[in-house]
């Protein structure tokens, strides 16, 4: 179990809508080894975003257990979760979620600032990250001066700033055309391999999901089945 990055058992999350109780996720068991690229697929309301948010420490389970890298997210204190989000996880959103008043460089610097990295060091790191996602020329532009693909590259650089163990991506190509989306996905997969990162990605797109090591199909808050496309390739 120690060589598993994520370990969830009977993970459940209920929401109260008025008087009704909606089970967004019920009794999900899941393990993810380090370095794996997992895709979460399923129709709207299947619980894939809920699962992602629970793994990211943005939400807490109603019952059940989830631990990432040995930290039990359900039981952790607020400060523990803050530190976890700051240093262990990088989020990539469908709508980019860049800070609109900051330049690309400052956006990448923001998580480094939260981690109290000295100014010179964070400038250096942010510059290197933007260069690695191919945005050396766009560093001083604000988000509204960047294209969708460029924005998502900035967001990727930002997610990587504090050298996380885990990338959580919620439909990262959902707002991009297929060519740009493909390029962003290529970039992400390249970075994953290069840095040995673990990634969990929510997606609707079967083509995107096909590039994952493992595809988890969710429906009505439970895991329907799990595919391993590469394994299928390997056994012709």
């Amino acid at each position: 179990m120690t060589d598993l990055l994520i370990h969830a058992s009977k993970l459940t999350r209920h929401y109260h809508v008025g008087k009704a109780v909606v089970a967004a996720l019920s009794e999900v068991d899941l393990t993810v080894p380090p370095g794996e690229f997992t895709a979460l697929v399923g129709p709207s309301g299947s619980g894939k975003s809920t699962l992602l948010n629970l793994i990211g420490g943005l939400d807490r389970p109603s019952s059940g257990e989830i631990s990432v890298n040995g930290l039990s997210l359900g039981a952790a204190a607020e400060t523990g979760l803050v530190g976890y989000r700051r240093t262990r996880v990088g989020f990539i959103f469908q709508s980019f979620n860049l800070l609109p008043t900051l330049t690309a460089l400052e956006n990448v610097e923001a998580p480094l600032m939260l981690a109290e990295i000295p100014r010179a060091a964070r400038r250096e790191r942010a510059t290197a990250l933007l260069e690695s996602v191919g945005l050396a020329a766009r560093m001083l532009h604000k988000p509204n001066e960047l294209s969708g693909g460029e924005k998502q590259r900035v967001a990727i650089a930002r997610a990587l700033a504090n050298r996380p163990l885990l990338l959580l991506a919620d439909e990262p190509t959902g707002n991009l055309d297929s060519i740009t989306g493909g390029a962003v996905l290529d970039l992400l997969c390249g970075l994953l391999k290069e840095q040995g990162l673990t990634m969990i990605m929510v997606t609707h797109d079967p083509e995107v999901a096909a590039r994952a090591d493992r595809i988890i199909h969710l429906r009505d808050g439970t895991i329907q089945h799990i595919e391993t496309p590469r394994a299928a390739e390997k056994t012709p």
């Binding site: 943005l58 989000r85 989020f91």
Partner: protein
């Protein structure tokens, strides 16, 4: 997130919506301006009072001749031939001897002062030292005040021709306290000097040396009258101008106030200082408190403006708050960021208000004396005094107001659920 980064971020956020920040801090500017102007005015008035009365004791009356009577001859109306404020009625030697007989009077000291423009020097052994003319006769019998003691000789002056030097004067000639005794019985010259360079010497015999550390001499009233006669080139200064003021000590405050009423009925100007000082200070304190309250109300109203601005800002930036939280910003960091932003709005408003108030006070300080001179009011000094305490206090208060205004909005921002904040459009 380091405090330095929080301050930098907060300042950047203040600058994001410049007009809105400016409007929010406008209330603070107005409040601070009000406080600064009003409290500095009160401080100025208090300083005026203290300047005017500091040197004089408590249970005395000061009788002065009523001013601004019109005289014929040269000079502007209200002034006499010599540019002095003309006297409607003078204090004669008969008045003074009459007052000595009034019930409750312990002591009556008539005084003649030399005009401010007179240059006065003491000449000894061929060198001259500038000095001031002190009063001639010490107050007697006040249980609260020790009688001034001589450091050498005696402080009693003969009818004329004697002088008491202060310690400071003797030291100005380069003599130490061991040499004081040598001066007793020696002749020194008191030299009057006009601005044209005309001089007149009076040879005086040193009677004693007083404790005063300032450079001053005391001569009898007869000698001072003689000096004034020379100065105004007349032989009857006392008959024409009377005494410049008379200090009357009475047995107690009740007698003092009765005497005040009586002498006022006789047409003299009387100031009974104990009462005046006390009442004036009480009034000034009351005014200060009232003015501060008015200004504080303005500042409290300003909190509404700041709080409104912060609530708007937080609504606008809800999504950003969500992003920051997802990146690992703690609730405390979010709260501090918004508190600091509100505090800065208060601080900036406070500094601007202070500067404006100070500038306004400075301008009025220039204008008021001109008006006063035009109206023949012999008042000098500043009316608006911004003390360091006031400046510091008002800036701290303005910052505090900002922080208080930011408290609830910042708490709201800190409490936002990151998921809901991220979904916010």
């Amino acid at each position: 997130m380091t405090l330095q980064d929080q301050i930098r971020t907060a300042l950047a956020n203040v600058g994001r919506r410049k007009l809105r920040s400016a409007l929010a801090s406008l209330g603070v500017v107005v409040g601070t301006l009000t406080i600064v102007i009003m409290v500095s005015l009160a401080a100025g008035v208090r300083q005026q009072i203290n300047h005017q009365f500091a040197s004089i004791g408590l249970d005395r009356l000061t009788v002065t001749p009523p001013g601004t009577g019109r005289r014929g001859g040269f000079g502007p109306p209200g002034f006499d031939l010599f540019g002095m404020i003309a006297r409607k009625k003078i204090i004669t030697a008969e008045d003074v001897s009459g007052w000595k007989e009034l019930p409750g009077v312990i002591q009556v000291i008539p005084e003649v002062t030399l005009p401010n423009s007179v240059g006065l020097e003491v000449q000894w052994n061929g060198t001259n030292q500038p000095v001031r003319m002190g009063g001639g006769e010490p107050m007697r019998g006040n249980i609260f005040q020790e009688l001034p003691q001589p450091v050498a000789g005696s402080l009693e002056l003969p009818e004329s021709g004697g002088v008491v030097l202060s310690q400071g004067t003797v030291q100005a000639f380069g003599y130490s306290s061991n040499d004081f005794a040598r001066f007793i019985g020696q002749n020194v010259a008191a030299v009057l000097r006009t601005s044209r360079g005309e001089t007149q010497s009076y040879v005086l015999r040193v009677q004693g040396i007083s404790q005063a550390r300032t450079r001053e001499i005391q001569v009898s009233i007869a000698d001072r009258i003689a000096m004034k006669d020379w100065w105004f080139n007349t032989t009857n200064t006392l008959d024409r101008e009377g005494y410049d003021f008379v200090t009357i000590r009475s047995v107690d405050v009740t007698h003092a106030s009765a005497l005040t009423t009586q002498l006022r009925l006789e047409g003299f100007q009387v100031q009974s200082l104990e009462i005046v000082v006390e009442i004036a200070n009480r009034i000034v304190t009351a005014i200060t408190v009232m003015f501060t309250l008015i200004g504080s109300i303005a500042l409290l109203v300003a909190t509404i403006g700041i709080a409104n601005k912060m609530v708007m800002a937080i609504y606008e930036r809800t999504r950003e708050i969500g992003i920051l939280k997802a990146m690992g910003a703690s609730s405390g960091e979010i709260r501090r960021m918004f508190m600091l932003e509100a505090g800065f709005i208060g601080l900036i408003g406070g500094v601007i208000g202070l500067l404006l108030g100070w500038l306004a006070g400075m301008c009025l300080n220039q204008i008021i004396p001109v008006v006063m001179r035009y109206r023949d009011l012999p008042v000098r000094g500043d009316f608006f005094v911004v003390t360091p305490m006031l400046a510091l206090g008002v800036i701290l208060f303005a910052t505090f107001i900002g922080l208080v205004a930011g408290l609830l909005p910042a708490q709201r921002a800190a409490k936002l659920d990151p998921l809901q904040a991220l979904r916010h459009e």
